[in-house]
Amino acid sequence: MAVGIGFRRRLDFLLLVIAILSAPVLSDLILSKVERQIDLTSQIARISSTIKAENDGSSSVSEILLAIPELQAKNLAYLTARVIEGKGKARTSGLALTVEPANPKGMPPALSFYSIVLPKPLANGDSVTLDVLAAFTHSLRPFPEKITQADIHLVLFQDTGHYLSPYPVKVQSLAVKLPQARIESYTKLDNTKNLGSEIKYGPYENLPPFSYSPIAIHFEANQAFAVARELVREIEISHWGNVQVTEHYDIVHGGAMSKGEFSRLDYQSKPQIRGASAFKHLVAKLPPRAHSIYYRDAIGNISTSHVRGDSKKTEILIEPRYPLFGGWRTAFTIGYGLPLHDFVFESEGKRFLNFSFGSPMHDIVTDSITLKVVLPEGSKYLSVSTPFAVQQEEEIKMSHLDIFGRPVIVLKKANAVPEHNQFFQVYYKFNALAMLMEPFMLITGIFFLFVTCIVYVHVDLSISKSSASYLAKLQWDEVRATVQQIQNIINQCLSTHEKLEASLRDLSRTGDVQACKAARKAADGLLKELSKELKPLIAFLQSTPPAAHILPKVEELVAKERELQERLMAKHSTIVDSHEKKLGGKETENRVASVQQKIVALRQDIEDLMEYVDEI
């Protein structure tokens, strides 16, 4: 089976070669030097080429074409080109140039073309040096496609040994960097060297356009083949000071499928041998000052994760619930909060979020990424700027205490690699006062709750206003109100008594008889008034039948109070009298003693009665 696949692929390439060889030469551009380096140390194949182009023709050239075989083109995740200025150590790379898909006429159909637009057209005899970086995903094919737990994980990488270009290439070389020294096999062209974990091809000189020589490298790769089949990142901005990021991952081990049984015993005892193809953990590099980090999945929290942080970054190491072997899947969610002032800024009356696009996971391939930026409710005039093309939508999300919902900007991209972790901006306008709306709503809600309670207590909700029980209830309420009034009056009387007592004490201290007499007079007047007030109330109680059973007690209370009044007056006069007569303290006490006892007893009785009446 393996032979069959290999054979078919060879055939594909053969066809490609034939197609390429029959293509016409494009322009007068000559690539004087091409240095390629293919980095296969991770699951992403990164090809960086340094291209020196010379214009050999008469007309100026403003764009350079890159050719990529169709087979690889569908795996192309990232492609940039930069101009390199200077030489040797002084070389600096300039700004990224525009790279767009091109469709030049008369080119072989098995190739995809991208054109690099040069910053200034290349005149005759001028040359330019470019640095082109391309990242391919899923281009390391596991071979064999199914392995057991104990097998080593081998992958196959295919490319061309000669630089495939529509232009003639003068000098070129290629270096392939592999993760481990263990290489199963590799295509040997002339001038091929194997330096441990590196394979060098070239240099080759003076090759015509569309030179193509397929190479295949079959090597061991034990790095994590973590592929996020789907990643949804939700960034929610709260102007109370937090940017909440939630990331939902659906991860699969993209390497060779595992077959046969999984033995925990083997994995446990010899994880390096009997589980080399599996990966146990992933590392995410979060921005600094990330807080409230959580890691969970659909069925709950996952307790195997570690967070390390310093002022530059927060690093989180997460272990899925189980080690992932080839083809095994897992899904989880991580979430964290970030300080608002690190990511949201204000300029020209607009606010903007400046956030990185891709996944914070180390060396992960994302097949499909959906980024949702949830802006606070009431944000307007939204606009987005991204460093590369993405699909863009808008939707509404309902969250806590929302009335209209929060505007959400949805950005979608397929086939993302860590190179896509570039900053993008979302501009919007937001009035800071709108922040207060939700607390205000809560306050209003609770306020109305209380108001309803108050209204409910005070409003008469009975249906029939003329039924006997309703009337009886009304009457009873009246009785209670009356009793309440009586109690108030008695309390006033009692406080007047206290004042009298106080005046007596003042007398014994200061000897001011006049003040004492004045107090007595005032108290007399007050008490008289109070007893006047009391009369109609008692009369009312006597006239209402439902009050019959409490009437005696109330009457007793009033009578007791009156008696207490009399006694107190008697005591008061006696003391004032004896004071005027300048009698000694002992004698005065003797004279008042009997009255005093009565007063105490009465007071006790009144208290008991008041308590009783209270109970009604």
Partner: protein, 755 residues
Amino acid sequence: MPPQTMSAKTDATIGVNGTAKSASNQAPPPMALPANLKSDLLNKLSLKSFKLKTKQQELLLRVSILFLVYVLAFITRLFSVLRYESMIHEFDPYFNYRTTLFLTEKGFYEFWNWFDYESWYPLGRIVGGTLYPGLMVTAALIYWGLRFLRFAVHIREVCVLTAPFFASNTTLVAYFFGKEIWDSSAGLVAAALIAICPGYISRSVAGSYDNEGVAIFALLLTFYLFVKAVNTGSLTWSLASAFGYFYMVSAWGGYVFIINLIPLYVLVLLTTGRYSMRLYIAYNCMYVLGMLLAMQIRFVGFQHVQSGEHMAAMGVFFLMQVFYFLDWVKYLLSDKRLFETFLRITVTTTVGLAAVALGVGTASGYISPWTGRFYSLLDPTYAKDHIPIIASVSEHQPTAWSSFMFDFHILLFLFPAGLYFCFKRLTDATIFIVMYGLTSMYFAGVMVRLILVATPAVCLISAIAVSATVKNLAQLLRTKSKVTQGGSSKAASGSKASSKALLDQSQPFQRNGAIALLLGVFYLLSKYATHCTWVTSEAYSSPSIVLAARGAHGNKVIFDDYREAYFWLQQNTPTDAKVMSWWDYGYQITAMANRTVIVDNNTWNNTHIATVGRAMSSYEDEAYEIMRELDVGYVLVVFGGVTGYSSDDINKFLWMVRIGGGVFPVIKEPDYLVNGEYRVDKGAAPKMLNCLMYKLCYYRFGELMTEYGKPPGFDRARGVEIGNKDIKLEHLEEAFTTSNWIVRIYKVKPPNNRW
């Protein structure tokens, strides 16, 4: 006492009792002020002007105590969330969670008509018709309500917190119930006791999303409303109790307790001559409406008129009518002798008719006989002999004394004291609570899980004891202080005072005794509180799906193997894979792994479970046949030999043998035992050493060193070296084993090619 509390302002309120309270609340006035100004200021500032009347004070106090109890009942149940996380516990709650999720996603009609293909493969289960929907509907309503108010909560949070929320509500009901049967102070004590009672907490901690969490609330509410209806004779209250009963029926199968206890209570009232119009109204309205409403629940259906368990209620209903009729005839007939003959004739005919109806109904099969569960309640040994599947559940075992002590603590001996108080003041209400207490205590003794039903009664009755005792003692103290006050102020007092003084002399240590007793009561209550908190935090807050242990250095070690395995199943098996496991894990597998199971915790089909039991206890090739027939893709076993986790499948294995053997006589229990002893080491029975369960649990275990100084293959759960270390699997292969070996999943291989 008063002079001490008022030392701060001696001049203003000497000897005035009434102001003592407000005075003690007062800040001491600045000393620099002149005396005059000071007293003025005092009068103005005095809280006296704000002073609440005694009644309002009491109301405020009561409301705040109730509020605190409400909050306490909620937060004491949150231990598990703090210790672990906001997650669903145990086994059954996972089914409830799954159905609630379904309900909130698909709506009520879909839920009601749900046929679940994912369980009981290949039979399936009519979920809508075989569950009590009360819990799910309640949670869904709360969820929708919160969503409507724009609180974007997750349904899981709602489910996790439903039980604590209802426990809080139960305290309110307990308060009102206590108020109804005794007085408001007893109600307060009852609310406080039930808020933290371990017997109730065991089923209502956060995450324990089970029927009982809501049902105890519904049970107590129904009882309270019924007692209220009996006390008032009001149609409104009995209507309310009918609705309470409806809610209870919708929530839990334990409603059978209500529908038998209430008729029993009515019968007792009738025989003790306490028949009244109030009772007549309360019972008839409650029974008729409650029955009609209960029929709306599909799982209950026509049982109220067709099942033996519900016949007592119907009998009492007819009896009530006869009673009423007789009363009416008695009222019409002035002749006493004539009435007696009439009475005799009517009673004999009614009893005869009832007996005939019952006999015919039972014989014709219209009235179904009592179910096994009901029998096992009346006769604790019944299940053990006849229905192993009921007896196999640990919570169906008879209760040990220690668990009574564990769950009730001091309530256990406050309960008889409360009964004494109830008998001393017999009313319709106290008779009810006494009957509720006694019957539920009996049931609690029969089955461990029924302690839950007894808890409210025990709390209420104990509350009566506490409240009555404290009240008596406090009264003693209060009158005492008054008398002493009176006595000190006056040597030769009036006749009243002297008689009190006489009483005083007759019991010289009464006051001290009362103080000592009060202190004793508070000591006991504080002990109760600490015990409850300890039990809640240590014993009842473990989710049982995540296991925690202490490591060698005292650190907490988490064994999250169950979820590891379930998540692996969910992610890495075909979506239509069928998983065979013992029925305990069925609900969890369907809810968390989202895979079809053969049997689950809804043990409705004994034969199906027995088939699984048979497969587990057969040799591999026989089991393979059964598994092929059931289209099983994966087999899941739980194994504690590495971690020392004792509730694993090897320890449950004898029940599988028994249940399997109950249906398939090829499986014989003695084959797995050696001299009546269950062993897994070298001395184990040959059939045991080669049955599927043994092989799956111990596959390649013989090569593993589990403990230092012990031979490889040492089973830490049972403390022996296993007897069969060379296990070869022919038709199955290890698909996954969790990191601590607690869950092992095997893949059933397709049949070999014939050539």
